[in-house]
Subunit: 360 residues, 4 copies
Amino acid sequence: MSFNSFGRVFRFTTWGESHGPAIGAVVDGCPPGLPLSEADIQPWLDLRKPGTSKFTTQRREADEVRILSGVFEGRTTGTPISLLIDNMDQRSKDYSDVAKAYRPGHADYAYDAKYGFRDYRGGGRSSARETASRVAAGAVARAVIPEVDIFAYVSEIGGDAIDYARFDAAQIGQNPFFCPDPAAAARWEALVDTARLDGSSLGAVVECVAAGVPAGWGAPLYAKLDSELASAMMSINAVKGVEIGDGFAAARLRGEQNADPMRPALDGSNDGPLFLANHAGGIAGGISTGQPVKLRVAFKPTSSILIPVETVTRDGAASDIITKGRHDPCVGIRGVPVVEAMMALVLADQKLLHRAQCGE
Amino acid sequence: MSFNSFGRVFRFTTWGESHGPAIGAVVDGCPPGLPLSEADIQPWLDLRKPGTSKFTTQRREADEVRILSGVFEGRTTGTPISLLIDNMDQRSKDYSDVAKAYRPGHADYAYDAKYGFRDYRGGGRSSARETASRVAAGAVARAVIPEVDIFAYVSEIGGDAIDYARFDAAQIGQNPFFCPDPAAAARWEALVDTARLDGSSLGAVVECVAAGVPAGWGAPLYAKLDSELASAMMSINAVKGVEIGDGFAAARLRGEQNADPMRPALDGSNDGPLFLANHAGGIAGGISTGQPVKLRVAFKPTSSILIPVETVTRDGAASDIITKGRHDPCVGIRGVPVVEAMMALVLADQKLLHRAQCGE
Amino acid sequence: MSFNSFGRVFRFTTWGESHGPAIGAVVDGCPPGLPLSEADIQPWLDLRKPGTSKFTTQRREADEVRILSGVFEGRTTGTPISLLIDNMDQRSKDYSDVAKAYRPGHADYAYDAKYGFRDYRGGGRSSARETASRVAAGAVARAVIPEVDIFAYVSEIGGDAIDYARFDAAQIGQNPFFCPDPAAAARWEALVDTARLDGSSLGAVVECVAAGVPAGWGAPLYAKLDSELASAMMSINAVKGVEIGDGFAAARLRGEQNADPMRPALDGSNDGPLFLANHAGGIAGGISTGQPVKLRVAFKPTSSILIPVETVTRDGAASDIITKGRHDPCVGIRGVPVVEAMMALVLADQKLLHRAQCGE
Amino acid sequence: MSFNSFGRVFRFTTWGESHGPAIGAVVDGCPPGLPLSEADIQPWLDLRKPGTSKFTTQRREADEVRILSGVFEGRTTGTPISLLIDNMDQRSKDYSDVAKAYRPGHADYAYDAKYGFRDYRGGGRSSARETASRVAAGAVARAVIPEVDIFAYVSEIGGDAIDYARFDAAQIGQNPFFCPDPAAAARWEALVDTARLDGSSLGAVVECVAAGVPAGWGAPLYAKLDSELASAMMSINAVKGVEIGDGFAAARLRGEQNADPMRPALDGSNDGPLFLANHAGGIAGGISTGQPVKLRVAFKPTSSILIPVETVTRDGAASDIITKGRHDPCVGIRGVPVVEAMMALVLADQKLLHRAQCGE
């Protein structure tokens, strides 16, 4: 029940600050016997890695993960898996101003109000750097749910949305925006670059789909699958909204429009109905239905901008602040692998919880 | 870590089915010495009570709460507070069809897939009747956070939104819709009545504000105030979306538009800055900033409708189903006191968590 | 993580005071589909019931349990099981002195020191009456672990121990002491009666064995089976010591004496070794070995005695106190079904935890 | 609620195997602003360090701890504190036999039964090496409870007990046995040396006292201070018994003998009574009374011995095994700093839990 842990029986704890010597995660409750090595984790970290294009922060981090425990002869042992990533490119000098004045939209003031002081270097604990630990833990989670296929993508940047008619999953990895619509990707290039050159930033919407989730996962009432996912997504830096399935759009439908009608499975089996729609995002009553689990996540624009904003200092004096340093012009982009990781972590936990109560 | 509990140190557990003898909640971890009696809880239950207008279900329940433990001579003792509400008006006969076929949008199929069978009477455990327990628990939570003033209202029904220029908090209790805009309330009367007569239903958006939350509540990273609130809200029946502050709208802003600039407090004190905006909904880095905490919740339209929907039976045969019985044409309306209760429950827990780690 | 709950995925929460209207438990996380009715629970409560002989408290309680939720058509549904037992024979007048002065050995002073005040009637929340809720919850736990056979007995009262050479399990239910040695039972009759007539009380040792626990239950490191059992037993009123297997006696052995040697199973199977001893009480490294799980529990003498003891009042004045009312002269006796219940509750939880991580 | 974590709001998680690259702990929920550096932790680790005398294992470990997060400019920040200790002296070759046959008394068979396989090198996760992580975490806990003074000592080895009339706390650090009685220490030298030369091992009893614990800590019912301590102690390798206060001896007393009478405080204040005895070990009703918290812990003899014991192989064949390698002839000795650490960890957690519910 600590605050830096997530999950119930498959549970991870992250630690580390942006400018400390390292960051990491401890994954506990992992089933034994699963093949696992650094090579299974590193590719996901590479997807999130900073400095890969001009559309992400120019901080350079190798983000090489080491497994320090819980794996023996290439398989998980059932004991805690300690994952460690060294911080290489900390430039503490960039952050000296931040020690004195509060950056609006950042955790600066709130951390000071809560804890009395803070590690101000690069945002300290509240830095998005922490999400590397999640991505590493998420790679372990994927090993627990091989039946599930998870993919996320950016569906909207700065209010400019993809055209679902042009949706092509194969495109997601082909552009720096995790964008499934090549036309949108082309537009975003200009859009994000303009924001970057303006010293400004843009918000984004990330969508995530998990296919292959069997019916029956989710632990009502207060570990409902939608609750767990909402909690997981809202814990990601800069996220301010979560929708399961149609989300807010469902609030504008009538009952018959929002129904997900069922028909017998086409193969005549009784393994589960054929659903004719998926407004509910694959979850009913907090339990998966066997349809794809779908959600949308809103990322606010990066709070670190070069445009001056009114603020106050620690001493309560008026000041204007611009946030220098190396920042993502659109933090939602690198949020994609983080959203996927959190989806994997929730589903792995729910799989084991379901098994605990209901057996295989 | 059970599934029917919520909260970390101020923690409640609910139990009970729609058509069992009673429902209830156990509230654990409540500070001692707080004045509490049934009279402090009943008014909140009355707000949620069914059968109060033609816009809500015609089920008749007195919803009288009894305190069975944890209170002595009018004050909380610090031991578990057991709250019990008898079920009076169960008409199990209404639900006989439901035993055989799955109601789309309901938990029927998912519960069967998870548990192998279910208490089908009135939705059993997945019935919105459970939310009465939350409202009762929420009344206890309010006693823990007297410094906080919580109010919620419906801002949108079936896509028809209030006009914020006409927002009048005093109106909220003056109409059957918890609507702060009298003009909208008048329109909704026709809107909901039409849907009801059509045998259909409507979705709604509920907004909630908590004023008086001091800066510093929230337990990063995985008990961030926004995570906890999202989890709490998404656990309410029919909720499919949560926004903190501007939510998805923030994803369409640029960084300088979304900033919440600060200025020194007008009284010259250093008790916290004056915020010039509140896009973040009173939470930064998962911690309250001292601004009002604001969120929005999307309720899907009630799944129980009289319009036939395609479905399958337990045996896998095709069928069409209409859901008779007594249902809310817009379940979001009675969601208002539930949203308030969950807000109170989260804040009470976070207040105590903050005190645990950081002292008074 | 509330304080009045126990268990991790099979989890129960108790509530209620000695002299409130009722006491109860909510059992959460129970697997679905298990046959359960009041008739499965009541016999265990009857074993613990007060007023059955002159060797137990003369308080009269029917201790009739009602199941208020979580069971449908005779089977558990997987939703919370609410169990309620009415308090019938509260004589609050007996306890008026207790309001003012602290009974040594009781929780009176400690509760006041912690909470500022307390429900002093009959010990309030700290009364052994609460253990009825545990026994009820334990009966549900037994349904989860049909493969396990649990029995407990008193092995020692007031320092007078049974003779293991005369151990006869069939005798346990044949005397008011849960004593497996008829000769000891005969001696204890005089011993306990003398203490009772003296207005004094006696301590006892209870032993418990769980046969049929398969190898592999227990969740190292901090939910080791021995840790969980120790925590469970030490939570019972008046318990001050717990030994797993040989316990303190093992601390006096040499390594070769304390070893539990193994040989191949007699049937030639490789389902687990034949152990030639069980010093470890069936647990190694926190995990069950397939041998019987064995533990011993020390109950202190009932603190309520008619012999005056020096104490102080709430106001800090010196006073002498005798504790009138109806009390067990040896609270360990009625502890037997409670110890069994806690054993069942721990094992049910560990069975499900094992299944979560390692599958069936 | 993971298995390798302990504590509720002040919570630590350990990871690491005997022969992996490192071991460590993550401490979460620590209050901010406490002075902390490696220099505050290292001395406690040095007390537990192997290889310091011929009475402990000859494995050589520097056991140098590094703080990787959660401390900034010499003070705790309120974020997770990651502690890492490199493993330096792993001699995996010593353990090749262990891969094939089960060492009686060790976790070998149980781990295989649970997980299907295990890291057999040096006991892997079940090695007492893990306790270094606890000692490091315990040092952080001490910073949380400066008002408490904790000390532990060995009171008995191989059945040879200290003479309490000769108890001298100043002696504890003056001999390799943490023994407060110099005469006993002298006897133990021969005793342990004989066992060591015989290739055998001895059990021990460790006692621990925490002075300065204010009245009011402990969270009844299922986080009672005695429950938490029992769970904590029983989680230590080789521990098989725990007594709070008089423990099993209390079961042999009559009520009036076991009472802890009270008198008004000598200074006339009403800050708490003067207790005339402490049979209860400073805990009543699960809550501290303000007296010293006292407990006793039984360590079985080290299971690793050079005397052959009957066992079976992984393949189910009969075998005799001797456990070569470097082992403690009496593991209880090095258990002393571990018992102290667990005491500190429980008390720090309970202090914060008390503050959460009841304020300062």
